[in-house]
């Protein structure tokens, strides 16, 4: 096996990706599917904005609107944002810690396929009788009332993909705990690795709550239990708690890696080490920790009582402090630096004021008594798009551009990148700034239309215009990808010139074993340390030797496929005769594949020393 990609047939390439356990290829899989779902979610957003452009519009019907709105939120959060984050994590984290691989390559692949099948299952609802329509929060009373199978698609799809997410989280945690290169202490880890670590820990503790919530609601809908049926003693507030115990940490799962991305990009293009590294780490951990204490701020109007509301309000406000620390640290990283405005850097710079605005409206929302006014209005919609789009989506644009060479060995076009930025940034503020006022002026969220004469016309049409800018920007971005793939020039090691961390110490893209010799880390920003001593490369920590590699496997795909089949069976159990057999068959497929996995020994294979040296001469390293 050589690292140089030989020309292969399409079938062979597909098979390669179906069976791959290489974190770099899995990153690409995540990127492609996440990117696809981003387009789908974006398309849904456009439909939302078109429908709301003018009062009393009948572009889409009321029921359909609720489906679009639900799928927009669900798709964006679970199927676009998280996988895109995972794409970056997979592509970068093992490299940043100087590892040859992740801890569980097999599980890594399993995590991806579970997410993938879950996402496909969820989206099939569009073609099989209607999408879920109770909002991405799927509050229990409405979800139980909702006819058809939409909600069941939501429940089963998220259950399957959530399992994948959990597995991915554990995998990153163990990778970071056990696989760091010699010298890479915790306090020398790059910030993106740190935020991956904390975000993965949040996944580990938050997703089980979602799992339980989804399971209970599924039992209620499909098997007649009564967790959420007040007539039988059930209680819908249980769902609200379970959902938000998951849901609030979830938003930090989204934003922390984004913080990590910016913490990588800003130092590189300021040519300065991250200001206040240890306080950044501390703030990250603290945000993660506080993230579990504040979920009830989504339930201020549920009627939990003033004591609970006051406690959760104050706890929520506390998160402003560590986040503020981060903001100032970024600013002071640039202070005294020499800033080069490449596309990733422009996104990062623009992120600071944008996210700040979203963050401070978060603190306003945390003021419980005032939240009675904001809650479930467009003010909230404005808040979370400012933090999610202005934080995470900016980070994804920045990170994908920044690490494109790491993933594909080419650079995206800078000019097109800047055009994307200007359009998106303009459109973004146009769309969402005005929504703060729409909310305050009395516009509830999740409305499929609004009536004329309530002073809401102007704001909505402005908002819609802005969305079109974002759509054009997105199209330019994808055009950029196509152009780059076709025409882009191959680049070598450290294409941005000022790389500081280990992913820039190897060729772009790296060979399949990443590091021929595990590097010796001698400080924070390991590559920078070497560069400052006039070296071009890392000092190796070991002599060249055989490299152990895991075998590819189709089993993750099959395990996930089995659960996909089970989901259909559960969904149609009462409608069709094949429902029950499908459940059984699906489980047999899944358990059978798991059984095979556990009885067939898999010791992997070795790449021999000689082949490595060979690679070197062929130019595997630049």
């Amino acid at each position: 096996m050589s690292t140089l990609t030989q020309k292969k047939g399409v079938g062979a390439v597909i098979w390669d990706y179906l069976t791959t356990v290489d974190h770099k290829k899995i990153a690409i899989l995540y990127l492609i599917s996440g990117g696809f779902f981003f387009l789908v979610g974006g398309l849904e957003a456009m439909l939302i904005r078109i429908q709301l452009a003018i009062p009393n519009n009948d572009f889409v019907s009321a029921g359909l609107y609720n489906g679009i709105l639900t799928m927009h939120g669900t798709t964006m959060i679970f199927l676009a944002a998280m996988p895109l984050i995972f794409a970056l994590m997979n592509a970068v984290v093992p490299l940043q810690i100087g590892a040859r691989d992740v801890a569980f390559p097999f599980l890594n692949s399993l995590g991806f396929w579970l997410f993938f099948f879950g996402g496909i299952f969820l989206n099939l609802s569009w073609f099989l009788g209607g999408a879920p329509d109770a909002g991405w929060t799927s509050y229990a009373s409405l979800a139980l009332e909702s006819p058809g199978h939409g909600i069941d698609f939501y429940l089963l799809g998220l259950q399957v993909s959530g399992l994948g997410t959990l597995i991915a989280g554990i995998n990153f945690l163990v990778t970071i705990i056990n696989m760091r290169a010699p010298g890479m202490t915790y306090m020398r880890m790059p910030l993106f690795t740190w935020t991956t670590f904390v975000a993965s820990a949040l996944i580990l503790f938050a997703f089980p709550a979602l799992t339980v919530g989804l399971a209970l609601l599924m039992f209620d809908r499909l098997f007649g239990t009564s967790f959420f049926d007040p007539a039988m003693g059930g209680n819908t507030v249980i769902w609200e708690h379970l959902f938000w115990i998951f849901g609030h940490p979830e938003v930090y799962i989204l934003i922390l890696p984004a913080f990590g991305v910016f913490s990588e990009i800003i130092p590189v293009f300021s040519r300065k080490r991250l200001f206040g590294y240890s306080s950044m780490v501390f703030a990250t951990v603290l945000i993660g920790f506080l993230g579990f204490m504040v979920w009830a701020h989504h339930m201020f109007t549920t009627g939990l009582g003033p004591i609970a509301n006051a406690i959760f309000a104050v706890a929520t406000m506390a998160i402003a402090v560590p986040t503020g620390i981060k903001i100032f640290n970024w600013l002071f990283t640039m202070w005294g630096g020499t800033i080069r405005f490449t596309t990733p850097m422009i996104w990062s710079v623009a992120f600071i004021p944008t996210f700040l605005m979203g963050g401070v409206t978060g603190v306003m929302l945390a003021a419980a008594s005032a939240d009675y006014q904001y809650h479930d209005t467009y003010f909230v919609v404005a808040h979370f798009h400012y933090v999610i789009v202005g934080g995470l989506i900016f980070a994804l644009f920045a990170g994908v551009t920044f690490w494109w060479p790491t993933m594909f060995g080419k650079m995206l076009n800078e000019m097109l990148g800047k055009i994307t930025f200007v359009l998106f940034f303009t459109g973004f503020h146009l769309t969402f700034f005005i929504q703060h006022f729409l909310g305050l002026m009395g516009m509830p969220r999740r409305v499929f239309t609004f009536l004329p004469g309530q002073g809401l016309e102007l704001g909505n049409v402005i908002s819609t215009i802005g969305a079109f800018f974002m759509a054009v920007a997105t199209i330019v971005f994808f055009y950029n990808i196509v152009v780059t793939s076709v025409k882009g020039k191959k680049v070598g090691m450290d294409p941005w010139g000022d790389g500081r961390t280990l992913e820039w110490a190897i060729s772009s893209p790296p060979p399949e074993y990443n590091f021929k010799q595990t590097p010796l880390v001698r400080g924070l920003d390991a590559l920078w340390v070497e560069k400052m001593e006039g070296k071009k490369e890392m000092t190796p920590a070991e002599p060249i030797g055989d490299i152990h590699m895991p075998n590819g496997s189709i089993l993750p795909f099959i395990i996930s496929l089995g659960l996909f089949v089970v989901s259909f069976g559960l969904l149609y159990r009462e409608d069709y005769g094949w429902g029950l057999p499908a459940i059984v068959v699906g489980f047999i497929i899944t358990l059978g594949a798991m059984f095979l996995r556990s009885v067939i020994d898999d010791h992997g294979y070795h790449i021999h020393k000689e082949d490595l040296i060979d690679d070197n001469q062929k130019g595997g390293k630049v």
């Binding site: 580990l204 503790f205 009830a296 609970a308």
Partner: protein
Amino acid sequence: MATNQNSGNPNVDIAYRRKKNAEDMKHQVVTFALMIFLTLIAFVTVGYDGIELWFKVPFIILLAVIQVIFQLYYFMHMSHKGHETPALFLYSGLAVGLITVLTFVTIIWW
């Protein structure tokens, strides 16, 4: 690696380790006896009418907590070296779990 406790002389090592393992095992049997004992107390507490309710519930929960600590530290070897990370994550999980339980018994009252 901290996990490798071999001294280099296999025969010394094995004798030493056997002894140590046997000692561990002895602890574990004692632990087990204590756990059975605690369980018995818990059942008796509940069955015995002379004890006030306000006392029973916290008391049996306390017994359960002690038992679980035994399980974790002896049966699952959390007392051994190299369990810092497992302990950290287990306790974090427990903390999240406890907050959850706490809210569910306080602010869902209707």
